[in-house]
Symmetry: C2
Subunit: 208 residues, 2 copies
């Protein structure tokens, strides 16, 4: 991991949101913006913006605000988005297939370049931009495609085995949709995605 | 919306995480826990836990900590999880189908009870626990099933129309996977889900 000061998930997710807001401002040809305006426009907190950015150096100019294009570029570099990150998907069920073709996973620095499934009826079939391979091909696929991110969309019972296969193949970043906890491995970053948390947020607003 | 003090998404998502941690402690038959222990055990912040809970009343006992079962129940009530919330899905492509059968959407208070798609070849086919209906059936489906949450997994070009159909049918909480911004409607809560943010977090750790 070349670039790992301890920055929390929450901070990183806010930086992503700032970057998206700045991209929208760039499209609208806004050249500079203050933290207050940025906060107001995108329903963020100005104090939080200043605090988050302060962790990574000096960004704004007092009394003028941020240079939109420059801040977008610096955040993009900081987030590691100025170079390609190829993705391999383990498990081409409905969710794996949806992610293989998902705009957000095939845009900018990201591209889904390979996928494996243990179902012999699926192997050899085309999904998105690749042909589904057998699980024992993972190491070759990672080597040949330079994939760095593994996505786990296998059934929960296969989560651990697929995870270890990804790690053995040299994958150092794993997006885990299986709801199974995976054991930490040195140098490997696992991000667990639990889509239910979004429903719980909506449930709060619907009332008890 | 019966229950809407202004609580941020981030706070609500943390409450969900606390609740999951408490459920795990319940399974391990832990009866009481301090905010420090809770924080340490689940990689959270003790200060943040105390601050978040303080917004909603008095939970812990000084010197003893939290009663695990009681705090879990109170958080569950607070989040509106002590009663059923039925879900209708608009758009039964790969993602819609995956979510219809997703454990997290069919567990505890949540159940996917209906789904619509405009493809005549899909209408009448069974997915999860329901049969796919035509989009013009939404109002009847919502009325008959008591669905309160709508999930948008249609193509981006159909997002607005499907959203308005959900709102017209009486849906007040929408989970939007389309990456299209939806116009606010009075009394309707929209939660936009952008799965790419998880990749951006991993990209940071992979370095630029």
């Amino acid at each position: 991991m070349p670039n790992t000061p301890e920055v929390s998930s929450l901070t990183l997710n806010r930086l992503s949101i700032y970057l998206r807001s700045l991209r929208q401002l760039e499209e609208e040809r806004v050249a500079t913006i203050s933290s207050q305006e940025l906060a107001h426009r995108f329903h963020l907190s100005a104090t939080q913006i200043r605090k988050d950015l302060a962790q990574f150096g000096e960004f704004g100019i007092r009394g003028v605000g941020y240079d939109v294009a420059q801040l977008a570029l610096r955040l993009s570099r900081l987030l590691g988005l100025e170079r390609r990150h190829a993705i391999v998907i383990c498990g081409i069920g409905n969710l794996g297939r949806a992610l293989a073709e998902y705009w957000g996973f095939n845009h900018g620095p990201f591209a889904v370049v390979a996928g494996v499934d243990q179902d012999p009826r699926k192997i050899g079939k085309r999904v998105g931009t690749f042909v589904i391979a057998a699980p024992d091909e993972i190491e070759r696929l990672v080597r040949e495609t330079g994939a760095e991110i593994g996505v786990l969309t296998v059934p929960p019972s296969a989560a651990r085995e697929s995870y270890l296969a990804l790690v053995d193949a040299g994958i150092r970043a794993v997006l885990n949709f299986t709801l199974q906890r995976l054991e930490p491995r040195p140098g490997v970053r696992v991000k667990n995605v639990d889509l239910r948390i979004n429903l719980e947020e909506l449930a709060f607003h619907l009332g008890g």
